[in-house]
């Protein structure tokens, strides 16, 4: 049963056809990777899922409901979380406060005027936040300022902030971009753990083939705004079209 | 038709001042990315350059004139400006009379210097700080500058007349073939408009036709790339700050016959000039000029009795109203570039 259904979407920016007739179907509880050379339209595609961009034509539906025309926060409340290429966290807040924001959002919805409750007295929220931090082994950093964390820790924190909302779909935009090999391996391990322990679908955009092939169940290869192939990893590896797309890039 | 022409003319002098200040604000914002709340103070300092020159030229020594007596019958003391003694009464008198336009010569180096000192001494430390901090520190600087002027020149407005040849009014209507005295307009305001047009034209020509200007425009569009080309963009931007200060100063110098300079005139103009910049589009030079004249003329139309009786109070709020509508419907202003100060 597919949880994310993308049908015939196209997007133009001025003279540039960023996406044309993209069809993707992501099955529930799988990891679906979208790969492709630079400028293939991967990020544009992702932005269409989360409400940042609205495609010119076509439809995107999540769990049978259309996401088009909804704002990013509404789409998040439907159960889609997003991890950014450079971690987007609340740099001025402490780690535990960073965790509590999504906990409140998960419990109270997009807005609640809880001006007279007290954060320290919200035991359940604190426990939720701490348990999640523990899961990503960051509990001992709970009182540090998020802005002072290492890049790897920021990534972990962002991931934890997304997961604590118990999303049904997690979108990851190049989660290992700019990371050292060790950090990359840690992140792969983290994602594998998440996969093992949670009922969750992941859509991952990635450059690093090592990451893609160690995680993905299915792979869509995108080039110049159109999907070239969609298949299981084993069949993608030696696929002539894929090779052409990537080698083509290398020759330029 | 004549009423229409008169309102446009009425809008031009204020519009010219708005346009000149907004032009400088935009230059600073576009090149350095700094929101300068002290820009009104530069306008005010310019105006006080005119006051200073007037005072210097009228520095006098006293002589006793035995032929004239005061009302008590004592011989009268007569003050003679030194310039009249040095250059003879005719040339000296003319120098005093033309103090305001002559102050341009004084204002340009003074304002450039003020601009350089401001940029090197203060503003450059705020490039990387948030816009709110830039607003706050320049706001503080504006207070300091206007208080210094107040301490030196006092709190009262100081009348600085235009040269006698350019005082009085002119029958503009007759010039364009209307009946006599249908549109009578003060000469100096026309002079101000022509002056503003020349300065604006000069700045645009400078930016368009000199290599220096080209580099600056390229830097405004994409600072990093120009920096990568090995061009020292910072030094040029500092010069631009001096230029922007000079433009504001000149606007102030020539405005003195229209409004007697006082220490808070800068703040009064600043608020409106910011509105002008936002309406024109943050970072767009033509936008700033266009919006300046547009709002000046709109304001003058709104002050017509016919309009006021229709919508009471409209003359008081028209500029702000336009700004609010523009900001909400066209967030980038009339001619703003994409991505400038958008969150």
């Amino acid at each position: 049963m597919s949880i994310l259904e993308v049908r015939d979407i196209s997007k133009r920016f001025g003279g540039l056809q960023a996406l044309s007739d993209v069809n993707i179907s992501v099955a529930e509880n799988t990891v679906h990777a979208i790969i492709g050379p630079n400028g293939a339209g991967k990020s544009t595609l992702l932005n269409c899922f989360v409400g940042k961009l609205i495609p010119d034509t076509g439809s995107v539906s999540f769990d049978g409901q259309s996401v088009l025309g909804r704002k990013p926060h509404q789409i998040n409340q439907m159960g889609i979380s997003r991890v950014f290429q450079t971690p987007e966290i609340f740099a001025d807040l402490t780690v535990i406060e960073n965790m509590m924001v999504p906990c409140f959002a998960h419990r109270d919805g997009p807005f609640r005027l809880h001006a007279f409750e007290s954060v320290p007295k919200e035991r359940h929220i604190t426990e939720m936040a701490e348990a999640m931090l523990d899961d990503v082994s960051m509990l001992e950093k709970r009182d540090l300022h998020a802005g002072s964390l290492s890049r790897g820790d920021k990534r972990r924190l962002e991931m934890a902030m997304c997961l604590v909302q118990e999303p049904r779909l997690l979108l990851l935009d190049e989660p290992t971009a700019g990371m050292a090999r060790a950090d990359t391996n840690n992140t792969i391990q983290l994602l594998k753990d998440i996969r093992r322990t949670r009922n969750l679908t992941m859509v991952i955009i990635e450059h690093d083939m090592h990451v893609v092939f160690s995680l993905a169940d299915r792979i869509t290869v995108l080039a110049q705004g159109t999907p070239l192939v969609e298949d299981v990893p084993e069949n993608i590896k030696g696929h002539p079209k894929v090779r052409e797309a990537y080698l083509g890039e290398a020759q330029v | 038709m004549d009423a229409f022409l008169l309102q446009i003319l009425n809008g031009l002098d204020k519009g010219s001042a708005y346009a000149l200040i907004a032009l400088g604000l935009t230059l600073i914002f576009g090149t350095l990315g700094v929101v300068n709340f002290a820009h009104g103070a530069l306008f005010m300092i310019g105006a006080f350059c005119a006051v200073t020159l007037q005072r210097l030229l009228t520095l006098s020594y006293e002589t006793v004139d035995p032929e004239r007596t005061d009302f008590l019958g004592n011989p009268m003391t007569v003050e003679t400006p030194y310039v009249e003694a040095w250059f003879g009464p005719a040339t000296g008198g003319a120098l005093v009379d033309w103090a305001v336009p002559l102050a341009i010569v004084l204002a340009i180096p003074v304002m450039m210097l003020v601009g350089f000192v401001m940029e090197r001494g203060l503003i450059q430390h705020f490039y990387k700080r948030p816009h709110a901090d830039q607003i706050l520190v320049t706001f503080g600087l504006a207070i300091v500058l206007q208080e210094i002027v107040k301490a030196v020149y006092g709190a009262n407005p100081i009348p600085t007349p235009a040269p006698s040849a350019l005082r009085g009014s002119m029958d503009v209507g007759a010039l364009v073939g209307m009946e006599a005295y249908a549109v009578v307009y003060p000469i100096w305001r026309l002079v101000y408009f022509v002056f503003a047009a020349l300065v604006i034209g000069g700045v645009f020509a400078f930016l368009r036709f000199t290599t220096f200007g080209m580099v600056v425009r390229a830097g405004m569009a994409d600072r990093e790339t120009v920096g990568l080309l090995g061009i020292d963009i910072d030094k040029r931007f500092t010069l631009m700050f001096g230029l922007a200060a000079a433009v504001a100063g000149l606007a102030g110098v020539m405005y003195t016959p229209i409004l007697s300079p006082n220490y808070h005139m800068g703040m009064d103009f600043l608020v409106l000039s910011f509105v002008v910049v936002v309406v024109g589009g943050m970072g767009s030079l033509p936008g700033a000029v266009l919006a300046g004249f547009l709002l000046g003329i709109l304001q003058s139309f709104a002050s017509m009795n016919e309009v006021k009786s229709l919508i009471p109070g409209i003359d008081q709020i028209i500029i702000y109203l336009v700004a609010i509508v523009i900001l909400l419907t066209r967030p980038r202003g009339l001619m703003g570039r994409r991505g400038v100060m958008e969150e």
Partner: protein, 421 residues
């Protein structure tokens, strides 16, 4: 919450538990200290005997103390918006102004009792903030500042011109004998005075002890009580989930949206709350002195609130009150120092030197106090972005390095700010 869910998660770490208690204790302590200071202000602010040369530095007279409290409320409200969300409003004077107008109208139409006046002022301030905020908060950054500025200037210009029937234009709105005052009945003889259930605002008891003289006025204690209420509310808001969300807005609106939160209602709520604070302050100003003029709404008045908050320390609890106090003290005390007084102080110096010293100090005091204020403000923005509170924290840290004491009350907020820079 059931036991099952409790056990499903690990218990809070003991350290977290301790930190939570410590913060609660510090907040209660801070409130207590502020309450004691406010209570004893008439004594504390008059440290110099009446006859001494330094008596002019005494600030313990009702009129000035009321200003401390009222502008403290205004700055606390401003800080809830600017300190937490980072939205810099240049239009808060509008809310102060409409608060004053509504209060005076209450005195004219209903009763000289300050309670209905203050309530109406707060509500009207909030309503204005709702309308202006609804429009202005569609944009952020400098555009938001300009929009609020434009709205405030519109209010100011209108109050001066076409709205004269409501605002009484340049003269300002005043009481008159012919006002209906439905609850009090018609007044005869002299103008009635504002009161709280019969206790007149200007009523005061003066105690003279030795060379000292202290004045305890009803008006001041009404203001002080409301200041404490305002301060307590701001502590609650700072520590609430709502306050956390406001800080999240300031920190990263993008992440906020992708966490399923809508930033606009949060900022609008903060804007309305801070507008209500400003309305309350305006109503109190009118309650102490029942007249309202349009100049209270001018943008320079908005600028003053900004100065107070930044000077004291934006985003800290105590900073705004401190900043308001410093600026009002300057305005009222520093501005009174003239050359004669300066000569008295430096009389010990030889004549020539004395004149020189006076000439150097002269531009900075008396009528030139704005210059000193501007310089101090610039220095704070340049060197001490956390304001006076941050300065106190740094000074405290230096002292503590010598005799390791407990952390200072405001250190957490200030440290957070410092880390953000």
């Amino acid at each position: 919450m059931t036991d099952a869910t409790q056990t499903a998660f690990p218990a809070q770490t003991p350290r977290a538990e301790a930190a939570r208690d410590a913060q609660g204790r510090r907040d209660r302590m801070l409130l207590l200290i502020v309450a004691l200071l406010a209570l004893a202000a008439p004594i504390l602010l008059n440290p110099f005997p009446t006859a001494s040369a330094l008596a002019q530095f005494n600030a313990g007279y009702p009129d000035l103390m009321q200003r401390f409290a009222i502008y403290g409320i205004l700055a606390i409200g401003f800080n809830i918006l600017f300190g937490l969300t980072g939205y810099l409003s240049f239009g808060h004077a509008a809310f102060l102004g409409v608060g004053s107008y509504s209060a005076v109208w209450m005195f004219k139409l209903l009763s000289m009792n300050v309670i209905p006046a203050i309530l109406l002022a707060t509500v009207i301030g909030g309503l204005f903030a709702l309308v202006i905020g609804f429009v202005s908060l569609r944009r952020s950054g400098i555009y938001f500042s300009i929009l609020t500025l434009a709205f405030a200037q519109m209010c100011y210009n209108l109050a001066y011109s076409v709205l004269t029937p409501i605002s009484n234009g340049e003269t300002g709105l005043q009481l008159s004998l012919s006002d209906p005052r439905v609850l009090d009945g018609p007044s005869s003889g002299s103008l009635p005075v504002t009161s709280l259930f019969g206790a007149e605002m200007r009523e005061a008891a003066t105690i003279t002890l030795g060379g000292w003289s202290w004045t305890f006025s009803v008006g001041y204690y009404v203001c002080a009580a409301l200041l404490l209420l305002a301060f307590w509310l701001s502590i609650r808001i700072f520590r609430s989930p709502f306050g956390l969300m406001l800080r999240a807005v300031k920190s990263n609106q993008n992440r906020m949206a992708y966490t399923g939160l809508s930033a606009r209602p949060y900022t609008l709520a903060a804007f309305v709350i801070s507008g209500m604070y400003a309305g309350l302050a305006g109503g109190l100003l009118a309650s102490m002195d029942p007249l309202a003029g349009a100049d209270r709404m001018q943008w320079t008045a908005s600028g003053e609130v900004v100065l107070m908050t930044i000077l004291g320390g934006a985003g800290t609890l105590l900073g705004p009150v401190l900043g308001a106090g410093v600026i009002k003290y300057f305005e009222n005390i520093f501005s009174k120092i003239n050359d004669a007084i300066l000569h008295q102080w430096v009389a010990v110096l030889p004549d020539g030197l004395e004149d020189a010293v006076v000439a150097v100090i002269h531009p900075f005091v008396g009528k030139g106090w704005h210059l000193t204020l501007g310089l101090i403000f610039m220095a704070v923005v340049i060197f001490l972005p956390g304001g006076l509170v941050e300065g106190a924290r740094r000074a405290g840290a230096v002292v503590r390095r010598r005799d390791r004491n407990a952390p200072s009350v405001e250190s957490d907020a200030a440290a957070r700010r410092a880390a953000a820079e």
